[in-house]
Symmetry: C2
């Protein structure tokens, strides 16, 4: 695995790979790699001949008061994990490389960023869309792989890639979970042992909602009440939101129509640690 | 010259050219081609092995009340002129191809779009930046050629390309003028014969300002007064703005410093027809 830090080096390497006729895959990450990221890298290896992993803690997607400063960083470990997972290139630019003095350009995906994470974290998805556009131009991939754990991010990136005509296939990989169901996240390491023990209730509540829908439940209000009771009785978490929305438009549903793909998602805080999770289900 | 209308066909053709090792140039236009555009195509021929001309009257860069509907369109003539000038590919997508149902993504270049044309035409440069990002992704060029006539647009595109890491060289070609000095523009055809006869005063005023600066003038207020008097006495034009600004940041200057590159620019209306022009000068 080669490690590159400048845009010119990365674009030169990507251009050579493409000229050789190799299919290029990219896995954008903020580092702190865990099993979830490694699954994305393995998927990219299946889909492409050469896999680029990007490692960049993107300042523009952290809003004021969030954990940009304390976000876990361990470049040596990430480098080793990416290499062992089969990455061919690690692109790890410095912040001033990506956002030099005089930087002024931003990409916004409208409407679907007004809800869920976008409502709670204003500006977050502008930062995500901007850095993903930049990383696609730096790495020139044929295919880009993201995780379903960040469901709204995946929807935003699909929209961005389609709307700006990036010639890139977007592949979204199912969420990887701990044995007790907790979705893998770089932020799980912030949890106290007590909170870590309670956190799997989030996925259990999502599974319950999924089961209710598969068994004929059609009223989102009732389903969300059931989830809320489960989380409140099973943990000390503060719920940011519970959502039952259309999986593409992310518009909240008031009744569930047969055949529609639905995103059931939530965000909850254990102390200052904020966790998100989701499941998708097609209404039978 | 081949003519393509879909994004997939254009990207496929661009990808084949690149794989063959050919250098690809693009000249984005809104059609209504005139000698200015042909000069851009000739320049692209010098700089690239294969030249793509795009022809798309971009709705998102026209603001409410502007001339989108009546903007001159003559595809057959444009096709013939582009072919004769040496274009290898004409990319002429339909509006619904570029902005399909559900389109939601926009690119904004901040700060330098708050002044000059951006101040008078709010949202205009968001439309320009968005469509240029899309056209670069459709045509995958090594080099993109624009005209100095739209000076602020050129500055916005340089910023966009640098900030979003498009691997594209931006080349800006000097303004092509009629024999009496009027900058060539697709909108000149709207002018009445009387207005057409007066319009060259705009370039004469710019030349006067340039000469004053080259001869030691350092006070923008005085220089702009001289320009204003020339235009008011020499025509019936209504002046939108007169500007003496830094050529890169586009910030208005209160005193002219030796060695700095300055953009002298103006916009004026003859009836409902709005013309812009500019000259650049390095302060001696």
């Amino acid at each position: 695995m080669i490690v590159l830090g400048t845009v010119a080096d990365m674009q030169g390497a990507a251009e050579r790979l493409r000229r050789e006729g190799r299919r290029v895959g990219v896995v954008p990450t903020m580092g702190a790699l865990h099993e979830g990221h490694l699954t994305l890298i393995h998927k990219a290896k299946e889909l492409a001949d050469a896999v680029i992993v990007t490692l960049f803690v993107n300042p523009t997607q952290f809003i004021k008061g969030e954990d940009f400063e304390r976000y876990p960083r361990n470049t040596d470990r990430d480098r080793e994990l990416a290499a062992r997972a089969g990455a061919d290139v690690l692109f790890a630019p410095a912040a001033h490389t990506m956002y030099p003095e005089g930087y002024h350009t931003f990409v916004s995906v409208e409407t679907i960023t007004d809800v869920l994470e976008g409502a709670v974290r204003p500006g977050h998805f502008r930062g995500v869309a901007t850095v993903v556009a930049k990383l696609l131009n730096c790495t020139k991939p044929h295919v880009a792989v993201f995780g379903q754990k960040d469901a709204q991010q995946a929807a935003v990136i699909r929209r961005l890639v389609a709307d700006l005509n990036f010639d890139v296939e977007v592949v979204v990989v199912p969420t990887v979970r701990e044995s007790d169901g907790l979705a893998m996240s770089s932020r799980n390491g912030y949890l106290s042992p007590a909170d870590r023990a309670e956190a799997p209730v989030l996925f259990r509540a999502l599974q319950r909602a999924e089961r209710v829908i598969l068994e004929g439940g059609r009223d989102p209000v009732t389903i969300k009440s059931t989830m809320e009771v489960m989380i409140r009785t099973g943990s000390s978490a503060a719920i940011d939101y519970l959502s039952i929305a259309d999986a593409v438009t992310l518009q909240e549903q008031t009744i569930l129509h047969s055949g529609r793909e639905i995103l059931i998602s939530l965000a909850a805080r254990f102390g200052s640690t904020r966790l998100i999770d989701n499941v998708q289900v097609v209404v039978p």
